[in-house]
Symmetry: C2
Amino acid sequence: MDFSDRLIEAIRQKQSRVVVGLDPHIELMPRSILKGVDKKKRSDVARAVERFCLGIIEAIAETAIAVKPQVAFFERLGPAGYEALEAVVAAARGRGLIVISDCKRGDIGSTAAAYAAYHLGLANPTNGELAGLQADAMTVNPYLGEDSLMPFVEFLSKGRGIFILTKTSNPGSGDLQDRLLHDGTRQMALYSAVGELANRLAHRFSIGKFGYSSIGLVVGATHSAQANELRATFPQLIFLIPGVGAQGAMPADVLGCFDKQGLGAVVNASRSIIFAYRDSSAPDRWQESARNAAISLRNELNSAIFGR
Amino acid sequence: MDFSDRLIEAIRQKQSRVVVGLDPHIELMPRSILKGVDKKKRSDVARAVERFCLGIIEAIAETAIAVKPQVAFFERLGPAGYEALEAVVAAARGRGLIVISDCKRGDIGSTAAAYAAYHLGLANPTNGELAGLQADAMTVNPYLGEDSLMPFVEFLSKGRGIFILTKTSNPGSGDLQDRLLHDGTRQMALYSAVGELANRLAHRFSIGKFGYSSIGLVVGATHSAQANELRATFPQLIFLIPGVGAQGAMPADVLGCFDKQGLGAVVNASRSIIFAYRDSSAPDRWQESARNAAISLRNELNSAIFGR
């Protein structure tokens, strides 16, 4: 089934646009998770990361539509980190969550194909293929051009999605992404050119039954003017929006990214949900804090969108 | 010791500019390596990949200055693939080869820091840090801007290097990289803007005793006009040049990237070296074929450079 359709059905069923980012910073995890953990041992830390992420998944499974594991924090732990990542993805899928592998991969030819096959391939294939992570979607970097994206796009027909980095949430995203391209008579920012590339691929390969493509854009909530511009230009691309919460953006900043039915975007928050316990009066109840933070974000987004 | 200095001393000592790309395509590996391997089992394939790469390292250690493991082919195999990658990097370092982790990572803040710490961090740290891959250098993607590069740049003071994707070797690299930026009175291609960003960082952080920076550029041999332009503009950045061999470029295409002393660039070849046995009359002598192919490339490059 088409990825965009699955995502939209999850939004409708759960009445939620919340994606929970799994960014297991070792230093921020609860004391109870780190008890007895040798912080110099990757296998020890990896098991703690896995326990923590599984606890978060349990806590937010009813409220969030998706989790977005940040692959860097797992890769930091080497082989044991990838074992934890695979366990976390399997657990999330088992709880009915959509999984977006936030790995920002980008490479050429057979190399890009290897990344795609790992992140989007089946975990228990019966067709003779090697096992993969079986994420539902992954983030990809467009710098290498259209041919570098094709091995990822090929997975759309298998119900997978990709989110192309377009206008990222970090302060320095403008260094290249905001640069103005001079293209005959037109002038546009690089991020718009990336949007055009994504849009062209979307229309060539995949528009789902709700009118959205399984090729989406990563657009930071911290840059709402650019987000609104991209939204107006590319009405059929779903935005994956990071930057709400710890990075400083508010639900109100992302309103322009949603259509009248409240579709067209999903909002990721990581630290403000998974480490919400750190600001609470009961730091031992980290799961409850995460659940409450996810519920708050879900409700704030819905109120803002449907209160327009 | 400064990465650029180490690289240049290796070039001088070995009289070689050859980097061997370790791209262990499963389907292209020698029959003797694949004997008894269950191609559906990641751990089986990972052990075969490790055996193959160790055999290649043995074969080319005297001829090449560096190996460049293509991380995607290891990641494809999940946790077992990262185990193989770590064993391959350790073996290459043990043979005195410089290791460039070709992972093309790029992310923001603490996430980029996690990637940097893994790929460039010590394999056996005694300072309480988690173990890393301990590559000498890694490839990074600039699309997210200067702040996204800083966590990698911070490793320069530890003797590490980075190569920033600038003008890549694939046919579609022009889709974004060749787009013309309109910048007040100046007009330049996006790849030049990336070069400027790299050059600014290079001069802020690191110029080695030979006058080169440990921040280099990835510049495809398949685009020699752009390579020559970048060379002229940024004389202190070392180019990591893929695209020679299987991708179609010849040693003559990259001559413009070298200074009068034959420094300033290193040339990567992957398939044309590691799978040279496939074109030989003795397909069982895959190590000998790889050695001979590496020697040929070394000699062709040196003849071309010093015969100018």
